[in-house]
Amino acid sequence: MVNNRYFRALCVAILLGGVAFAFQRGRNRLSFLQDDDAPEPYPTDASEKTEWQFARLRYNSYRQQAGYWGVRGSWSTDAPKAERHLAQGLKRLSRVHVRSVEEVVDLDSDKVFDYPWLYAVEVGHWDLTDAQAAKLREYLNRGGFLMVDDFHGTIEWEIFMRSMSRVFPDRPVIDIEDKDAIFHIVFDLDDKVQIPGIVMFYTGNTYEQDGVKEKWGGIRDEKGRIVVAICHNMDLGDAWEHADLPQYPERYTSMAYRIALNYLVYDMTH
C-alpha cells in the first residue's frame, strides 16, 4: 500500500517534469522555425485530375495509445508541406503529370490500389496488423511501390522490420548498389549524401540516434525490380518540407528532390 502511494507520486512527478521539459523545448525552438509549420495556401489547381498524385500511407503506430486514428500519428509527419513542395519540384523537373495536392490512403480499404506509388514516413513507429501487412504485400505484388523514410537508428529499424518482415517474410532487405538504374534513371546520383532532418539544427549532426550511416535499402520482387525503397537514417521528408527555408541547406533539398524523382520514374517504368 505504501509502495503504491510512492509509485503514484513518482508518476505525477515524471508527468510534471515531462510537461515542463516540453514547454521549455518549445520555448527554445529556433527562431527561423517559428512559422515553419504554418499551413500552406491550398493550391488553386488542386482539383486537376492527373496521372500521379503523392499518396501518403496512414498507419497505426506504437505511440498511438488512444484508438486507431484517434490522434495525429507519426504517419502525418511533415504533411502536407513536404508533398506539396515536392509536387511543385516534380512538375518543374519532369514530364510527369503531377497533382498539386496529396492523398492519404490506408491499408484498410482498397483505395490504396488506385495509387501505385506510396510514401510512408517515420516507419520506425509503424505497427501493421496481419491484415494490413497482407494487403501491403498484395499491393506490392500487383505492381505498387512503397518509399519509406525518416526513421533512424537500431531501435526504429527493428520496429520497421517487425511489420515489414510480415509483409515479405521471404524477401531480404538489400543495399541498392550505386550502379542500379534507380540512381540513374533521370539524374545520375553518384554523389548521394545522407539527407538530414531539421534536428541537425539542434544537434549539429546529420544523423539521429545511433543511425550514423545512411542506408539506401530496398526490397526486390521475384523479377529483381525494387518495390520497396528504404531511406534509413535520413529524412527526405524534412528536406522537401523545408525547401523554402533559407537556413536548410539547398544541397540536401536538391538531392532529396532528385532522389524522389528517380524513385518515382523508376516506379513508372519498372
Binding site: 505492381g143 513508372m268 517504368t269
Partner: protein
C-alpha cells in the same frame, strides 16, 4: 403425260426452236386472226347482244374466235426444229466416278443398301448402255485423279483415292478434238477433292458445247453422320503463344446430342470440350485456344469422338500443320511522358518470352530514357531517322507523344513502316496523343483507323468501362476467356479504366473491337484495327488499363493476357525481308504445289537481283533443292512449282542471296494427305452436278429418272449432227383444245338460252 399431249418430251421443246413450216408469212396469220376476232365479235353482238349481257356474248365470241384462230394456226404448220445427233456416227462418253466415296451406300438410310458404284453399274448394265449403243457409239471411262478409258464396267470398283471431276472433264474435252463426241454421261456423287469445278475447266467445257448429262448417286443428305468440315489455324505462330483453332463441323441425325471435341498437337491433347450439336446440316464452329509450345512444326488435329450409330467415322477429324517460329520480334514503344500504363505494359510483356519490347520514354523535356535496347548506342540519338534503323522492329507503339515531335521525314517513315515494311503500328491515348497531340492535322492521320476529331481536350481522366462489339466477340485478340460467351461476361466485369480518349468514327474497312463507355457520357471506339498497305494499324484510346492490374487479384492474368495478345497481333504477321509461303497448306491426294517468296532489301523495297532457292525436307529424311525464279509481273516475287512425292509433312527453308551476301531466309511447312479427302463431303454434291449439267446444256438425272436419257441426249449441237423439223400441228393438245372450246361454247349457249 407431256409427250401424250405434245408428241415430244419437254426437254426437246427446251432445246428446239419453234417455227411455222408452211412458208406463208406470219403477219398474214396475225391479220387473219384479228379479222376473225373482229368479225365474229360483230356478228355475235348483232345476233345475241340483246339477249346476253356484255360478258356473256364476249365469252361466246371469244370461244368461237379461238377455234377459228387455232385452225388458222394449224394451217400455217407449226413445227419444232432441233439439232440431233446422227445415229451411230457419234460417240457418247459414259464416265463413271471411280473414287472411294463411290463405295459408300447409295441410300444412306438403308443399312444394307448397295454402294453408289454398284447402283451406277446396275443402271448401265440393266439396259441403259444397250439403249445408248442402239443410237450411238459408246465409250466407257472411269474418273479418278485422271480420266481413263476402260473396256468394261468390271474395271470400275471405286478404288481410286481421289476425284478431280474438273480435270477429268477437261481431259474429256481434249479427247473430243479427235472424236465426234456428242454427249457425256457422268455417273458420280459429285465428291471432288479440288473442291469443285474451277472456272478454267468449266470455260473449256462450255466452249466445246458438249452437253454433260449427270446422274447423281448417293443420298443428298446423310442420315447419321458428323463431319469436321474445317480446321482453321494460323500457318505460323510465335513460340509459346496462345493461338486459336476454329473447328467447323456439321451433323445429320444427332441434333441436340452431346459430342466431345478434342484438339491435339503432336498427339497430345491440348484442349477438349463437350459440345451440343445444333441444327442438322448447318455448320457450327467452336474456337479452341491453346499454347503452341516450343519452336518447330506442330501437327494439329481436331476430331469429334465417334457417336454410336454414325455412318462414316472417317470424316470426324481434320489435320493442319502450324509452323511455330522461334523469332523474337521487336516492338519499339515511344512514350511522351511517364505514365502508369507504360510500366504495366512493360510488365505484361515481361511474361512473354518471344516479344522484345524496346521503349523510349521522355522523362523530362530533354531526356529520353531507353529500355530494352540491344546496345548502349541503339536509339541514343532519339527516334530513328533512317528506315533501316526503324525497320529492324516489327511493331511500333506511339504513346502520348505529340505529332510535331517527329520530323516530316520520320512521319513518312512511320507510314512506310506499315505500308512497305509490313509492320504493325499501334496508337495509344494520352495528353499528347491522337487529337490532343495534333495527329488529326498530321500526315500520320491517314494511317490511323479512325477519323480523328480536329480539336483539343479529347483526353479525359474519367472512369470508363469496356464493351466488346460483335467483331470483338468474334475476335481472338481480345479473348481473355476461352469460351466466347464467358469472355463477354468477363469483360463486363473488368474494373474501369482510369481514362479514355475521344476518337472519331472508324474509317471504312476498319474494325471496331471494343468501345469505351465513360460513366459521364456516350460511347467511343476504343480498340480499332485495320489493314494498312502490307501491314496493319490500330488505335487503343486509353492509357488507363493499369487499373485492370492494380484492381484485381495478383493471380488474375487478364491484363497481361490482353496486352500480350494485342502486341502479338501487332507483330505476328510482320514479314521478314524474305518471306515465303506455299500455295496450299494441305495437299489432298496430289503433290502439285507452288512456292512463292517475297524478297526485299533492307529498306523493304522489292528486290529482283537475288538468288532464291528452297531447301525441302520431306518424310523419311527425303530432301530436295528447288530454285525459285523471278515473276515477270511482280517485282521482288519469286516462284517455283514442285511435286511432293509422298504423303507426310514437309519443311521448306527458302534462302535468298544477293551475290554471296545472305538477305534472309524463311521457313514454312505443308503436308500431303492421301486417301483422306474421299471420306469427307460424303453426301451427294447435287449442286455441283446440277450446275455442271445446266451450264453445259445437259440435264441432271437420278438413277430413277435416267431411263429417258438415251432419247434426251439424241439432241445435241456437238458431234455430227443433222437438223430435224418435227410437225406440231397434229399435237393431241391442239385437237383437245378445239373440241374443248366448241363443247364449252355449246354448253354455255344452252345455259344462257342463246341456241
Amino acid at each position: 403425260m407431256f409427250e401424250s399431249l405434245f408428241l415430244y418430251s419437254s426437254r426437246l421443246f427446251s432445246k428446239g426452236e419453234l417455227l411455222f413450216a408452211s412458208g406463208w408469212p406470219v403477219w398474214l396469220l396475225v391479220v387473219l386472226c384479228l379479222a376473225v376476232v373482229g368479225g365474229i365479235g360483230y356478228v355475235v353482238q348483232q345476233r345475241h347482244g340483246a339477249n346476253l349481257k356484255g360478258a356473256r356474248w364476249i365469252t361466246i365470241a371469244g370461244l368461237q374466235a379461238l377455234v377459228l384462230c387455232l385452225l388458222l394456226g394449224m394451217l400455217w404448220r407449226p413445227a419444232l426444229r432441233v439439232t440431233a445427233l446422227k445415229p451411230q456416227q457419234n460417240v457418247v462418253a459414259v464416265v463413271v466416278d471411280d473414287s472411294r466415296s463411290m463405295t459408300l451406300k447409295h441410300d444412306g438410310a438403308a443399312a444394307n443398301g448397295a454402294s453408289r458404284v454398284a447402283v451406277a453399274k446396275a443402271l448401265l448394265n440393266d439396259g441403259l448402255l444397250d439403249r445408248l449403243r442402239k443410237r450411238f457409239q459408246v465409250r466407257v471411262y472411269r474418273a479418278g485423279a485422271n480420266l481413263e478409258r476402260v473396256a468394261g464396267l468390271d474395271a470400275v470398283t471405286g478404288g481410286q483415292t481421289t476425284t478431280h471431276l474438273g480435270a477429268a472433264m477437261k481431259q474429256m474435252m481434249e479427247e473430243s478434238a479427235s472424236l465426234p463426241i456428242g454427249a457425256v454421261v457422268l455417273l458420280s456423287d459429285g465428291s471432288d477433292n479440288a473442291g469443285g469445278m474451277d472456272a478454267d475447266a468449266l470455260g473449256e467445257i462450255r466452249r466445246r458445247r458438249i452437253p454433260i448429262h449427270s446422274v447423281g448417286l448417293g443420298a443428298e443428305r446423310l442420315v447419321k453422320d458428323i463431319e469436321v468440315v474445317d480446321l482453321d489455324a494460323p500457318q505460323r505462330a510465335l513460340s509459346d503463344s496462345r493461338i486459336g483453332a476454329a473447328v467447323t463441323f456439321k451433323q445429320y441425325g444427332f441434333s441436340g446430342q452431346k459430342a466431345k471435341l478434342v484438339l491435339m498437337a503432336d498427339d497430345k491433347i491440348v484442349s477438349s470440350r463437350e459440345v451440343t450439336l445444333g441444327e442438322e446440316g448447318v455448320p457450327q464452329s467452336e474456337t479452341m485456344l491453346f499454347n503452341v509450345g516450343l519452336a518447330g512444326a506442330r501437327n494439329l488435329k481436331a476430331s469429334i469422338v465417334k457417336i454410336a450409330g454414325e455412318e462414316n467415322e472417317n470424316n470426324n477429324a481434320q489435320t493442319r500443320l502450324v509452323n511455330v517460329e522461334s523469332l523474337k520480334p521487336r516492338i519499339l514503344y515511344v512514350e511522351g511522358e511517364p505514365k502508369w500504363d507504360f510500366k504495366f505494359i512493360r510488365r505484361a510483356l515481361e511474361g512473354d518470352r518471344n516479344i522484345q519490347l524496346t521503349t523510349m520514354l521522355r522523362t523530362t523535356q530533354n531526356k529520353v530514357y531507353r529500355q530494352g535496347v540491344e546496345n548502349p548506342k541503339e536509339l541514343e540519338q532519339g527516334f530513328p531517322d533512317k528506315e533501316e534503323e526503324l525497320f529492324k522492329f516489327s511493331g511500333l507503339i506511339i504513346g502520348g507523344v505529340e505529332a510535331s515531335w517527329f520530323t516530316p521525314q520520320q512521319q513518312a517513315m512511320i507510314k512506310n513502316f506499315a505500308d512497305r515494311r509490313g509492320g504493325g503500328v499501334l496508337f495509344l491515348a494520352g495528353r499528347g496523343a491522337l487529337s490532343d497531340g495534333g495527329y488529326a492535322a498530321s500526315s500520320i492521320a491517314e494511317m490511323i483507323p479512325v477519323s480523328l476529331v480536329d480539336r483539343k481536350g479529347t483526353f479525359h481522366r474519367d472512369p470508363a468501362t469496356v464493351e466488346l462489339t460483335q467483331a470483338g466477340r468474334d475476335s481472338l485478340m481480345v479473348r481473355i476467356e476461352e469460351d466466347a460467351n464467358k469472355n463477354v461476361e468477363r469483360w463486363k466485369k473488368m474494373p474501369y479504366m482510369a481514362n479514355y480518349q475521344e476518337t472519331g468514327v472508324a474509317k471504312p474497312g476498319a474494325t471496331v473491337l471494343m468501345e469505351a463507355l465513360p460513366t459521364s457520357k456516350g460511347r467511343f471506339p476504343l480498340l480499332v484495327t485495320q489493314r494498312y498497305g502490307r501491314g496493319r494499324s490500330a488505335i487503343f484510346a486509353t492509357s488507363g488499363t493499369w487499373r485492370w492490374q492494380m484492381s484485381q487479384d495478383v493471380k488474375d492474368m487478364s491484363h497481361e493476357l490482353f496486352w500480350q495478345q494485342l502486341l502479338r497481333w501487332l507483330v505476328t504477321e510482320t514479314p521478314p525481308q524474305v518471306s515465303a509461303n506455299p500455295s496450299r497448306q494441305v495437299l489432298l491426294d496430289e503433290g502439285q504445289i507452288d512456292f512463292r517468296a517475297d524478297v526485299r532489301d533492307k529498306a523493304y523495297n522489292p528486290m529482283n537481283a537475288a538468288t532464291v532457292e528452297a531447301r525441302i525436307l520431306g518424310p523419311a529424311g527425303s530432301a530436295a533443292m528447288v530454285p525459285l525464279t523471278p515473276d515477270a509481273n511482280q517485282a521482288g516475287i519469286f516462284t517455283a512449282k514442285w511435286d511432293a512425292p509422298k504423303r507426310g509433312s514437309y519443311v521448306v527453308e527458302v534462302l535468298a542471296k544477293n551475290g554471296k551476301e545472305e538477305m534472309g531466309r524463311d521457313v514454312f511447312t505443308f503436308m500431303r494427305e492421301d486417301g483422306v479427302a474421299e471420306s469427307f463431303h460424303a453426301e451427294q454434291n447435287k449442286q455441283l452436278l446440277e450446275g455442271l449439267s445446266r451450264q453445259t446444256g445437259g440435264n441432271y438425272y437420278t438413277p430413277e429418272t435416267a431411263k429417258t436419257l438415251p432419247e434426251d441426249i439424241a439432241y445435241s449441237e456437238a458431234g455430227i449432227t443433222t437438223r430435224e423439223t418435227k410437225d406440231l400441228w397434229n399435237m393431241p393438245a391442239l385437237f383437245i383444245a378445239l373440241l374443248g372450246a366448241k363443247a364449252a361454247e355449246w354448253m354455255l349457249r344452252r345455259r344462257w338460252g342463246a341456241v
